[in-house]
């Protein structure tokens, strides 16, 4: 890669979508990250959620899949991306010993179901399994570089 692109480290329970292209890094265990990208505008965004559904007790933050996905779609729409141009790449949702059984699977399921409902196609994914993942998402090209990590992610 020749041109330097700003870097951004994405924390669990947060999301990222800006006009300027960034290389966004995040580390996933049972958490799931949904990367959305629109080829026509060259804009992309990513979230990183820990649990599938908001419980109604804590803040309605992108810690929860249903909120994280909806917020990301809305944020990209505000940047001028049309929903029917968005495609998705989904990562994470590993089964990890120190987490509640099945939380990874449920995190994956909420992404699949919500994206289908929103009519956003999943064009690539690497989900499940037992290993954590570290991903680098180039928001201006939509490319995702992924490798498995032994370090426990979130």
């Amino acid at each position: 890669m020749t041109t330097a692109i700003p870097k951004y480290y994405l924390y669990p329970s947060t999301l990222f979508a800006q006009k300027e292209g960034h290389m966004v890094t995040t580390v996933l265990g049972s958490c799931v990250a949904v990367c959305l990208y629109d080829e026509t505008t060259g804009l992309g965004g990513i979230n990183h959620y820990m649990l599938p559904f908001w419980n109604g007790n804590e803040l309605a933050s992108p810690k929860y899949g249903n909120i994280a996905i909806e917020s990301l779609v809305k944020k990209l729409e505000k940047l001028g991306v049309q929903r029917n141009n968005m495609v998705a790449k989904v990562f994470g949702g590993a089964n990890q010993l120190n987490h509640t059984i099945g939380v990874g699977q449920r995190n994956i399921k909420v992404a699949q179901e919500m994206l289908e409902e929103l009519n956003i196609k999943i064009v690539a994914k690497s989900v499940g399994g037992e290993k954590g993942r570290k991903i680098n998402f180039n928001t201006s090209t939509g490319e995702v570089f992924m490798k498995y990590v032994t370090k426990q992610g979130d």
């Binding site: 890669m1 330097a4 870097k7 480290y9 924390y11 669990p12 329970s13 947060t14 999301l15 290389m23 890094t25 580390v27 979230n47 109604g56 007790n57 804590e58 803040l59 309605a60 933050s61 992108p62 810690k63 994280a68 917020s71 790449k89 990562f91 690539a124 994914k125 690497s126 680098n136 490319e143 995702v144 570089f145 992924m146 490798k147 498995y148 979130d154």
Partner: protein, 298 residues
């Protein structure tokens, strides 16, 4: 037409009956689920309207006081002592307004997923001391004695803004739910050079173990309704917990009924990745290097 024996008819009928029963059961289960969701929805509606009316009071009351006092100050200032007294009151009201607004804005940032930790070296001792000082007027109003247990010059790599917000809320909580002339103890230490531990101990009425988690729920105070005796709208500890979790930490509660509560916070040291220190191009090359067979491109 096929002829069925009596036995076959009975079997067929009981099978259908069984299916019917199951369908009814399934329907009942769905109905229960629906009722549950409905109940939660109504609850969230009432929470929202309660929150709006609470928030109106919390913001309007100090604001009207400030307006009134400032008006008095400019029209009938009185002698120096009276001016000092009035401006002291204005400060108190503005302080509480500032405190509430900060929590509301932080909650909004957290809900938008836009609050991002920004790590650096923080002098924990002077940060906490500074926050505590700002609460002096509330501490003395309630006649509390304070004790701050912390090594001078204690340093830790964390987000100064978030730590300040966490400490502010813990102290405010420890004052609000303390008894008159009680004691407020603040403890800060670093465990194994890796974890920052904070404890805020009050001498209030304490609470049941079953309520430990509820206090971190949003818009919740154990005592509700028009007769509730405590200020705030149940956002402080919710925001605190969310900020602590954003820094990969955890909160804990321990109480003794009638003697008081201790609210603890553990924040781990920010990791290297979190410090954004990794090289600008190294990672990309690493991922691009397909000979290694470790990275994948999607």
């Amino acid at each position: 037409m096929k002829k069925l024996t009596d036995q076959q008819i009975i079997e067929e009928l009981s099978e259908r009956f069984e299916q019917n029963q199951q369908a009814i059961k399934e329907q009942e289960r769905l109905m229960e689920e629906l009722e549950e969701v409905n109940r939660k929805l109504m609850e969230s509606e009432s929470v929202k309207s309660q929150f709006l009316s609470n928030i109106r009071n919390e913001i309007n009351n100090p604001l009207s006081s400030i307006l009134g006092l400032a008006d008095k100050l400019s029209s009938k200032p009185g002698d120096k002592e009276q001016v000092m007294y009035t401006s002291g009151l204005i400060h108190q009201e503005a302080f509480s307004l500032d405190f509430q607004l900060r929590n509301i804005f932080t909650a909004a940032e957290l809900e938008a997923g836009e609050l991002q930790p920004n790590f650096g070296k923080v002098d924990v001792h002077s940060l906490i001391e500074g926050v505590l000082k700002k609460f002096n007027h509330l501490v003395s109003k309630k006649g509390l004695s304070t004790e701050f247990r912390c090594t001078e010059g204690l340093e830790f790599i964390t987000d100064a803004g978030m730590l300040g917000s966490i400490v502010r809320n813990l102290i405010s909580n420890g004052i609000e739910f303390n008894k008159e002339n009680g004691k407020l103890i603040l403890e800060a230490s670093i465990e194994d050079e890796k974890v920052l531990k904070l404890n805020v101990i009050d001498t209030g009425i304490g609470m049941n173990e079953s309520d430990y988690n509820i206090i971190f729920d949003r818009f919740v105070q154990l005592e509700t309704g028009v007769t509730k005796s405590h200020l705030g709208h149940g956002l402080g500890l919710t925001v605190t917990k969310a900020q602590v979790e954003l820094m990969q930490g955890s909160v804990s509660v321990e109480c003794i009924i009638g003697e008081g509560c201790s609210i603890g916070v553990s924040i781990p040291l920010a990791e290297e990745d979190d410090m954004h220190t990794f090289s600008d191009s190294g990672n990309v090359f690493f991922f691009d290097d397909e000979d290694e067979g470790e990275g994948e491109v999607f």
